[in-house]
């Protein structure tokens, strides 16, 4: 709550986050105003994807963005020692010690926009979808968390890499668009990007009442695998952590 002490900054950051969310939705509006379908996605589905992107990213940033930013500082200044000495799992402490309140603005705008789509009948849905899509949001966040945490763990060896956070932001933008756009003779690239594309697409499709069992299974597999890999990598990296005096 110390962040709220600087009220103007806090309000400005909420406003900035809201503007970014609105711009993403506006971009998709403009794109789909001229083209009715893109790789099999209808206009309503693409707009739903834009709204879901804000929900998933908003939730992900709310839970992890400040912690991932701080991880680099903790390693660089040797302050990770105090966390490692606590009788709590270090990855848990590092990942969940703070939240980013301004990111709730993105989550709120995403939910609001999705509600608007449903009530204006731009997209049809079934009530069962409202329940069934929730686990896939958390699996999507697990995929993004695993990748992001793994990249930030590199700070143990490269504590001066200030661009890692910005790199994560742009990697996450991959999830904004349908994964099918990365097809077309670029299979190697698609294979590399495929897990990321599932993070937002799968909950979007489930919410729209479309169940592609292949994607659902992959979402579960990657959600678990990425989390486990991030954990293994973190434990491996801690062996090389030498603190500021090392």
């Amino acid at each position: 709550m110390a962040f709220v002490a600087y009220r103007v900054n806090f309000l400005n950051s909420i406003f900035a986050a809201s503007c970014w969310s609105c711009l993403i939705i506006l971009s998709m509006f403009l794109l789909t105003s001229r083209v009715s379908r893109v790789f099999g996605w209808s206009r309503g589905e693409l707009l739903l994807l834009a709204g879901m992107y804000n929900v998933v990213i908003g939730l992900f940033y709310f839970l992890f963005s400040k912690n991932l930013d701080e991880l680099q500082e903790l390693v660089h200044l040797g302050e990770l020692d105090s966390l490692l000495l606590k009788p709590v799992d270090s990855q848990w402490l590092v990942s969940f010690s703070q939240v980013s309140w301004r990111s709730l603005a993105r989550l709120f705008i995403g939910v609001l926009f999705i509600s608007f789509l449903f009530f204006s009948h731009a997209v049809s849905f079934r009530w069962i979808s409202l329940v069934s899509f929730l686990p896939f949001i958390f699996l999507g966040i697990s995929i993004m968390y695993g990748l992001s945490f793994g990249i930030m763990t590199l700070s143990v060896w490269f504590s001066n890499l200030h661009n890692l956070r910005d790199l994560l932001f742009y990697i996450n933008t991959i999830t904004r668009y349908p994964g099918e756009i990365y097809h077309g003779g670029r299979e190697l690239l698609f294979i590399f990007l495929f897990p990321l594309t599932l993070a937002v697409i799968v909950p979007t499709r489930v919410l729209a009442g479309q169940y592609y069992w292949g994607d659902l299974c992959w979402s579960v597999v990657f959600g678990v695998v990425f989390f486990v890999l991030s954990r293994k990598f973190w434990q491996f990296a801690l062996r090389y952590y030498t603190s500021a005096s090392g």
Binding site: N12, W20, R34, L161, N163, D166, Y182
Partner: protein, 264 residues
Amino acid sequence: MKKYWLIARNTWDEIVTYRLNFSIWRVRQVFQFLSVYFLWMAVIPSRASLGGYSHSAILTYVFLVTLLTSVVFTSKSIGVGDEITNGNLSNFLLRPVNYFRYWLARDVGDKAMNLAFGSVEMTILFVLLRPSFVWQRSLFYLSFFVVSVVLAIALFFFFQFLISSLAFWVYEVWSVRFLSMILLTFLSGGLFPLNLVGEPWYTIFRLLPFPYLLYFPVKVYLGQLPVVEVFGGVMIAGLWVFLLRALVGVVWSRGLREYAAVGR
């Protein structure tokens, strides 16, 4: 002039020293490019068009915007805010160095590095992706493309300096800068060509300085603007450079009266 050349050279060396940091910055640019490139490839398949843009025109737009972003949207003058906040500005006020020219020299070094790497990346991506590309052959459009890029660089430099100058009054400038970058990304045509927003917004946006950062130079290169509009756009961009320069001068002199070197 020699001292400013040395400053530019030092900035180049500084970037080369932190190679991994710079490499990650470039990887991030590539990621940004790829997501936009594949999106437009999907939206406008070959032999299709959208809003006056053919398949090749839109891909050329994406390539050029990415390259120009490396040149125009990189600026070391972001550091001005930190120097005001932590009091290091005092060092420069005492030295026989023009502060604006110091940061301009740093920008030259930074942009030279980004242009060099951006060109290599775009060349590699061009070879790998083999897009349909518009090759401008008109000397008129090519020369005014260069002129508009120079104006864009000047525009962004003064704009960033203006934002950084807020540090005289506001302790944390990053939130204002973050918001300004979001608006810049949209209003400069970095996400999509601005004429796709339709009227009357397109006309309103063209009166602002932001389209002249990316959108206008690329439109000039594509040869999609009549000669009159090219001249008109260059004049508007030049006027904005003049206005921003004057505004920076006023804000800077007012700010120096407030400056108290609090961090020292």
